[in-house]
């Protein structure tokens, strides 16, 4: 199989990640649930991984690296844990449902009002819209670092400056960029960073986190066992315990720790350069295909390694199915959990076929995928 669906999840993990999870499965106790060596070993692993992630993302305090099961959980904690009755939030049409649905929920349950920065047919926004939309009740800006459909990246540093100037919380969905693009929360002015472990971080599914920059009060999404202060009827208020009820995914965190090591040792710039070259090569090879329509702004280097397209009016699901069934090429078609982006691009009915490249893909695979598309386009029933 030629796997070009890395934006959904990476299936090729570094061998050290696989080893770390396997070793953890045979040795780890429950973190914060005992003082015997099994529990202490897990405590140490969890602590060191928090430190690594804090350094990796430029989060000033390691106790404010909160482990979650994915970006969706982190975004739910960030959004539902900080917004109050009557707040106003600015977001964009690039967002994934993991941002949109918690915001809609806040709209329904707490009367939060939402403003959406629009995008043009290239999927590009006008940064001035953020400032135009700010009102006295505006509490936060919530946005993605990169669209999971077009690959267009937002200038987070620029939005961070706007947020800082107006004293707004800045919540960033780094699902498509964590592990692929350098992120520094302090330099970029990010208040809350939400990331997942299983995409470009190349860690296990079931891992992710929320990094908190500064003194931000966040109400917990879930309450329960904490291993400490057992006689309190409420969740302890100290971070990270406040936002980590229940047993942590120690086995997954072991893998995530190894993944951070791998990216740091390989060099995130090396990974980024390779992935960008793959996407650029593929783009260059397919632009000549008759009736192909490629979405997103490919004139910019500030992109995640994604190419989304359609061939004439061919149903995107049929193209993706043909790629998989006849050519063994895995992509993703449909709505990509990004309904507003599809509306902005005009692809609600047709969907789009998304190719997303990862560290373990090769130029040869790009060439094969481009040729497969050429043949499919050629076989279109006219």
């Amino acid at each position: 199989m030629i796997y070009l669906d890395n934006a959904a999840t990476t299936i090729h993990k570094p061998p050290c990640v696989v080893r770390a999870v396997t070793e953890a499965l045979t040795s780890l106790g429950n973190a914060s649930r005992g003082a015997h060596e099994g529990a202490l070993a897990t405590n140490r692993l969890v602590y060191r991984t928090r430190r690594k992630l804090a350094s990796f993302f430029g989060c000033p305090e390691s106790e404010k690296v909160i482990f979650t099961c994915n970006s969706t959980e982190a975004l739910n904690i960030a959004i539902c844990g900080t917004l109050h009755e009557g707040d106003h939030v600015i977001t964009t049409v690039l967002e994934h449902n993991s941002v949109l649905r918690p915001l809609y929920r806040m709209q329904n349950e707490r009367g939060v009002s939402l403003g959406f920065v629009p995008a043009d047919k290239q999927g590009c926004i006008d940064y001035a819209d953020f400032e135009r939309m700010i009102r006295p009740q505006t509490r936060a800006i919530v946005c993605t670092h990169a669209s999971n459909l077009t690959g267009n990246m937002l200038d987070i540093r620029r939005i961070g400056r706007i947020a800082k100037e107006h004293k707004l919380l800045f919540i960033v969905d780094a699902s498509q960029t964590a592990g692929a693009v350098p992120i520094d929360m302090v330099q970029m002015g990010i208040s809350l960073l939400c990331f997942t472990g299983h995409k470009s971080m190349m860690g296990p599914q079931g891992t992710g986190g929320l990094c908190i920059n500064g003194d931000i009060e966040i109400e917990p999404l879930k309450t329960g066992g904490s291993g400490v202060q057992s006689f309190l009827t409420e969740q302890p208020r100290e971070y990270p315990t406040r936002l980590e009820a229940g047993t942590l995914n120690g086995h997954g965190i072991a893998g995530l720790s190894a993944a951070v090591d791998f990216i740091s040792q390989t060099g995130i710039d090396v990974i980024r350069a390779h992935e960008q070259e793959l996407a650029r090569t593929f783009y260059r090879l397919i632009t000549g295909i008759p009736d192909i329509h490629i979405y997103g702004d490919h004139t910019s280097d500030e992109r995640s390694p994604i190419v989304a397209l359609n061939i004439a009016d061919l149903d995107s699901a049929i193209v993706a199915d043909e790629l998989a069934y006849s050519y063994g090429i895995a992509t993703r078609a449909g709505a990509h959990c990004a309904p507003l982006m599809h509306k902005a691009l005009g692809t609600q009915e047709q969907g789009a076929v998304r190719f997303s490249f990862g560290f373990y893909n090769t130029i040869g695979e790009c060439e094969a995928a481009a040729e497969a598309l050429r043949q499919i386009a050629d076989r279109r029933v006219l």
């Binding site: 061919l314 149903d315 995107s316 699901a317 049929i318 993706a320 199915d321 043909e322 069934y325 006849s326 050519y327 078609a333 449909g334 709505a335 009915e349 047709q350 969907g351 094969a368 040729e371 043949q375 499919i376 076989r379 279109r380 029933v381």
Partner: protein, 86 residues
Amino acid sequence: MVRYYILFDNYEQGLALHDLLDGAGVSNRITPAPAAARGKLCCGMSLLVEADMIDRAREVIQDNNAVYHSIVPMDNQLQAKRDRYC
């Protein structure tokens, strides 16, 4: 050439029928539900059944009270003949 897409409300329904059809020897394939067929339906999974198997598939569904949303015929948008990598 017409092909048939069996659509579902959710993955569980789809996988259940996939197992049933496989068990009954009815050739079927899990495939993304075409946007044109799906409409407002949430589930992105469908089962693709060729024209020569659809009657048998309907029998299996009836005999087992299998749950599904609808069966949608669609013309194949691609010509069958393929010249793979040549």
